[in-house]
Amino acid sequence: MRPAYTRSVPAPAVEVIDLVKRYGDLVAVDGLSFEVPAATVTAVLGPNGAGKTSTVECCEGYRRPDRGSVRVLGLDPRRDGHRLRPRVGVMLQQGGIYPTVRAVEMLRHVAGLHAHPLDVDMLVERLGLGATGRTPFRRLSGGQQQRLSLALAVVGRPELVFLDEPTAGLDPQARRATWDLIAQLRTDGVTVVLTTHYLEEAERLADRVLVVDHGRVIAAGSPAELTHREGQGALRFRAPAGLDLASLRAALPDAVTVAESSSGGYEVRGALDPHLVAAVTTWCATHGVMPEGLTLARRSLEDVFLELTGRELR
């Protein structure tokens, strides 16, 4: 397969260094740094009020950083906005569309502001907006409004898109359509930066996740790196009640705990790796125990977030 697009801009697509954004006494972004490699999906994950939107809006040129530097496609979003606007797609968290405009009318309009827009009909079909007809924007369902907003961000065939909470409030089917589109963007060489507080979204779509809290990046990496970093996990199986836990424990590495969490339900917690699995099953084989329903549970991003902040994400 030949490359879909020959990039004229050297990586990274976005470079944020030591960004600070204050609103009066409130410090929304507190010394935040990250890079977004070109043609990847980066998810900025964090609870409401973590500073996600402020960060993205500094990248979009809407907000002036109080400190630090922001480069987007090698340019300054405040100073070089007129050069960036054709190249960058933006999906606001909400609003931004005339209450009385029709969905397809608005999409054709924004397409017409670009030199080589996407095929509007293709986009309408792909995002399931065909049934909106003459309905004014304000009477569309929340999901339809969200999908139109996403379509507006991509219709100009940008190199980079910022999507602020692209699936907030969507039903599962609409969320899937949005995820499919984001995955396609990545395949086609578009750089995507999205904010979300859905862990599943970050785990599923992102090459890289930035976990943000109180305006700082508290962890960064691929979903796999984040969830495996400490190697914490659980191996669970069922077997007859009352196995000799001391014997099992003695057969395993030091940093591992063993418990019969319910009658006949066993849980081995520690750094999950193939050796640990082999050690458990070898012990079972030696003792004639069949480990029924053996499962390995790695940490979820939810666990990571909880460990890092001591709080639930939502």
Partner: protein, 261 residues
């Protein structure tokens, strides 16, 4: 395959670029016009009420409009009302709500530059005014209106008057909350209609009152219109200067104070 076709299997492959400026302006103007024509309240204030005022005041002798045929006195005033409705009230309300709904913010992320948005809004206002004047002139003619003077002399008056009202309307829309703009724009419209020198000629008022009113943009525009259309005199300098000062003040202040979100 032409270069504009997307790469097969990569429909979203980047190919960024802004449309040409004339195309962007034409598109934005066309959209603004369509949305305006779809809005019943805006049509009420820009067309229905001016027609009612035209017909009502010229046929019903309830208001003393002074000497001369009533229709010849009233028509220039209603032209002025039409400009006030479109360039001030309608523009202020629409822009105020666009700001409140984040439309201005969102458009700021498209290739359309801000000056382009202002240009499209100005073009929209001028197109609507042209339509209003044609319709109102038709109604006035059917009521026996016989204008003097040259339509061409109205052009500078209309342009400067529109600039004055638009600047003030945008100043309001860009600084107040949308609801406050809605209320204030309608209130100012009503006050100027009633007492802004639009219906009753300044010559029918006590000298002191007339002098005070003559610095209002509504009175200046109306007096200018009457000078040309009713009396057939050339373009009057006084009203033009008053309107130009308002235009400078309005547009100047709006360009500094306007907040886009």
């Amino acid at each position: 395959m032409s270069r504009t076709d997307p790469v097969p299997d990569h429909p979203f492959a980047p190919r960024p670029g802004a449309a040409g400026v004339p195309q962007m302006l034409a598109r934005q103007t066309s959209l603004e016009l369509r949305l305006l024509l779809r809005n019943g309240e805006q049509l009420l204030i820009t067309l229905v009420i001016p027609i009612l005022v035209l017909v009502g005041v010229s046929l019903v002798h309830a208001v003393d409009v002074g000497s001369g045929r009533r229709i010849d006195v009233v028509t220039p005033g209603v032209f002025s009302l039409a400009v006030l409705s479109t360039a001030f009230t309608s523009l202020a309300i629409a822009t105020g709500f666009e700001r409140r709904y984040g439309v201005l913010k969102r458009l700021g992320a498209t290739p359309l530059p801000r000056w382009g948005l202002i240009a499209a809004k100005s073009a929209t206002v001028l197109v609507v005014e042209l339509g209003q004047l044609l319709v109102l002139a038709g109604v006035a003619s059917s009521l026996g209106w016989s204008p003097r003077g040259s339509w061409l002399e109205l052009v500078p008056l209309l342009l400067v008057g529109t600039a004055a009202f638009s600047g003030l309307g945008l100043l309001m829309a860009g600084t107040l909350r949308a609801e406050a703009t809605l209320a204030a724009a309608n209130l100012v419209w009503l006050l100027l209609l009633a007492g802004g020198g639009i219906i009753v000629p300044l010559s029918r008022l006590p000298a002191g009152v007339a002098a005070g009113l003559s610095v209002l943009p509504s009175a200046a525009l109306t007096e200018g219109m009457r000078a040309v259309l009713q009396h057939g005199s050339g373009l009057p300098a006084g009203p033009l200067v008053v309107l130009a000062v308002w235009a400078l003040l309005g547009v100047g202040t709006a360009s500094v104070a306007f907040r886009w979100e």
